[in-house]
């Protein structure tokens, strides 16, 4: 065993393991975040359905689920998802100003969604302390808000990169991320909305 200080002489490499600015890293990172979000939402949905299956009256007597703003929330999410694809369109055309504007609109719409969903939760007169239904209702809605907030985070990071000139036709990966993550956030909402507000 050579315990001396002999160093290996290394031939040149084609490239090192990374150049430090590979945009596809962000794609993989956001996918990992999306997987974690899916598992959290899946577990909460499963808990909701399992508790519902074991309870005779669901929702409990006296609980009225407010669905007044359901359509508005859904339309807001649809708009947000569509704007996400507008971001990609602008990025691929190399139009940074349009991409930045679309990202700002996407963030604004997701913020509106969070605001409205919070209002719906407050208006339902259900608290996590009300009963088991209330606890689950709060958990599921809070998780949905967290997913929407992660959408704002992703759009915000993309916006910073767009403004910094690091996203363009040659490196559109973050544009794809903004588009797909916006759609993913919408899908999370529609699954939750159907389970909690429509099917009940």
């Amino acid at each position: 065993m050579a315990a001396s200080g002999v160093q290996l002489s290394l031939p040149p490499a084609d490239r090192a393991g990374d150049d430090g600015h590979d945009p596809s890293l962000a794609v993989y990172g956001v996918v990992a975040m999306g997987v974690a979000a899916v598992v959290v939402m899946g577990a909460l949905m499963a808990a909701w359905l399992a508790v519902e299956a074991g309870t005779q009256t669901w929702p409990p007597k006296g609980v009225t689920v407010q669905n007044y703003f359901g359509t508005t929330l859904s339309v807001t999410m649809l708009m947000s998802a569509t704007v996400g694809w507008w971001v990609l369109y602008a990025v691929r055309r190399g139009d940074r100003r349009q991409a930045a504007m679309a990202l700002t609109v996407a963030m604004f719409l997701e913020l509106c969604f969070i605001n409205l969903l919070t209002y719906v939760m407050r208006g339902s007169h259900l608290g996590p302390a009300t009963n088991a239904y209330g606890t689950l209702y709060y958990a599921v809605n809070a998780a949905t808000i967290a997913v929407a907030a992660s959408g704002i985070l992703v759009a915000g990071l993309t916006l910073v990169r767009v403004l910094g000139g690091q996203v363009g036709p040659a490196r559109p990966q973050l544009g794809w991320v903004a588009a797909w993550y916006g759609t993913f956030v919408s899908l999370v909402w529609f699954v939750m909305y159907t389970t909690v507000y429509v099917v009940k």
Binding site: L10, P11, A13, D14, D22, L25, V51, T55
Partner: protein
């Protein structure tokens, strides 16, 4: 051969996109560092410090049982039992592996950093903050979550107070940290491998971390969802987990065990990968059938989830007839990997290294736990396997002891890289004696007490207690003291090596003291901030061996 790496010119299209300047290597403060090597060392140190706390509590718990009527922890027994169980399982073994992976994975795949360095730093400090919060929660009272990470059903307690709030919050933070660290490692392995480092060529440790990361990414968020429900339920006393709520308690058990049950077996996954590298390196041979070993590691990961179906801790589990079969299956890939190690070793070529002692300790503790698992059903344990002191022996041998042995094998093997200078082998042998002896004695005491009819989780042996019970508890407490001493000795040894390496001349710190084959040994010891001056060409799973085999490739 020269070591000048030139990058190909960027295509015009890419060049049109403005590139930020190359990241300059600036000194970072210890608190704000995002260097994976520093963070790896921090993880290892923090995990061992948390384990020290856990071991002290374990000794106190056993001393409480060592004589009739003795009062050491008094009415705090339940609280300390829960703290000991939670701290040693959540704050020690898995974070220790994450720490080793944070340090080693970029080096093993030829990367200069982790995929998301700031995320790695955030994850580490979140883990430390969560760990401190977990310890602090028990100073406010007994959180309403007893057992190992609250594996038993939670009763709703109105206004249970700050202890449960802090406890649930701390577990949410720790799980978030682990999921973030796992995601970071997963992306790093997928995206930052050097040219030529195909998945089939990545070292087995890195491969096992890929499997572990994927498993944590899939199971950790389930626990996160469960803890969110627990926090809301306990903080607001909503009554979700009340007995009247039909399936709610069953839901909780599924949520906690979908993370907890695989985790029991998943701690073996990085052990298999790391020990494969350790055995091959000190045998001075390539691992026998490396692809089969990778398949076995992957199979262990998959089966760790399948074993969930055998969980006796879940009431009304729908697949009860299958438990023994699925539990037995997971032994196959673990045993197969051990056979590959045996096939790799040639006694004449084997060079003794203290890490091999730990490999032996890992195998012995696992075999002992396996034998006891086979014997226990015929012994009609009082209270069954979930209510006997025998379970304490199983947990300390298989769940904590064996993975600790494997992790320390890895720590000692890679110590020239981690601390710049190899840890002292003699002290390493003493540490091994303390840790292996400690876990073996603790487990033996608990197994014997269980076979003699002693229950677990009692603060005093009362009716039916024999004098043997007290002797077994004394034996177990001696084991706990040994573990504590071993951990302390290890920290002192690591600090000494680190201090030496900071002032040593480079020629005193060989990059590759073992004539190893994997890429991390191409970096200096300790590695510079960006890891490699240049990454060698990779044409097999043993790039450094390939270099040596070339004419003139051995030395500069």
């Amino acid at each position: 051969m020269t070591a000048t790496a030139t990058r190909p010119a960027a295509p015009a299209e890419v060049a049109a996109v403005r590139q930020p300047p190359a990241a300059a290597v600036t000194p970072e403060s210890p608190l704000t560092t995002s260097d994976h090597k520093r963070l790896g060392r921090y993880y290892i140190t923090a995990a061992v410090l948390f384990a020290l706390v856990g071991s002290v509590i374990g000794v106190l718990l056993e001393l409480e049982l060592s004589a009739k009527g003795i009062q050491i922890v008094g009415t705090s027994y339940d609280r300390l039992f829960s703290l000991h169980a939670t701290a040693t399982t959540v704050l020690f073994v898995t974070p220790l592996w994450i720490g080793l992976a944070t340090y080693l994975v970029p080096l093993q795949i030829g990367a200069r950093r982790l995929a998301f360095p700031r995320l790695a730093a955030t994850a580490f400090w979140t883990y430390v903050g969560g760990g401190i919060l977990l310890l602090a929660s028990y100073t406010f009272g007994t959180p309403n979550g007893m057992g190992i990470v609250s594996s038993v059903a939670l009763a709703p307690v109105k206004g249970v107070g700050r202890a449960t709030d802090l406890w649930a919050t701390s577990l949410i933070l720790i799980t978030l940290a682990l999921v973030a660290a796992a995601a970071n490692l997963f992306v790093t392995i997928l995206k930052l491998r050097a040219t030529g480092m195909t998945m089939a060529r990545v070292p087995n440790f890195t491969w096992s971390i890929l499997a572990l990361s994927a498993a944590i990414l899939l199971s950790g968020p389930v626990f996160l969802a469960g803890m969110l429900l627990v926090f809301l339920d306990q903080h607001y006393a909503g009554g979700l987990f009340a007995a009247s709520q039909g399936n709610a308690n069953l839901v909780w058990q599924h949520l906690v065990w979908l993370y907890g049950r695989p985790d029991v077996y998943l701690v073996a996954v990085p052990a298999l990968g790391a020990l494969s590298d350790v055995v091959a390196t000190h045998s001075h041979r390539r691992l026998l059938q490396p692809l089969v070993a990778k398949g076995a590691i992957f199979a262990t990961t998959i089966l760790a989830f399948a074993v969930l179906a055998s969980n006796a801790s879940i009431e009304r589990a729908v697949v009860q007839p299958t438990p023994s079969l699925l539990s037995a299956f997971i032994v196959a890939p673990i045993g197969l990997t051990a056979l590959l190690w045996l096939g790799t070793i040639r006694p004449a070529q084997l060079k003794f290294h203290v890490s091999l002692l730990y490999v032996g300790g890992f195998a012995l503790l696992l075999v002992a736990a396996g034998v006891n698992a086979a014997v226990a059903p015929s012994q009609h344990l009082v209270g069954g396997v979930n209510g006997s002191a025998w379970t304490v022996g199983q947990i300390h041998a298989a769940l904590i002891g064996a993975p600790t042995m494997a992790a320390f094998a890895a720590v000692y093997h890679w110590s020239p890289k981690i601390w710049g200078k190899a840890l002292n082998q003699l002290i390493g042998t003493l540490v091994w004696l303390c840790l292996f002896g400690g876990f073996a004695i603790t487990s033996a005491g608990a197994w014997a007490a269980g076979y003699d009819g002693a229950p677990w989780h009692v603060d005093n042996y009362t009716s039916g207690a024999t004098s043997h019970y007290f002797n077994y508890a004394k034996l177990a407490s001696v084991g706990g003291v040994l573990v504590f001493l071993g951990l302390l000795l290890f920290l002192a040894s690591a600090a000494a090596s680190w201090a030496f390496a900071r002032h040593a001349a480079p020629e005193d710190l060989p990059a590759d003291p073992y004539e190893a084959s994997t890429l991390e040994w191409a970096a200096a010891s300790p590695p510079p901030p960006d890891n490699f001056e240049s990454v060698p060409e990779i044409r097999s799973d043993a790039p450094l061996a390939d270099l040596r085999a070339r004419p003139g490739g051995g030395a500069a």
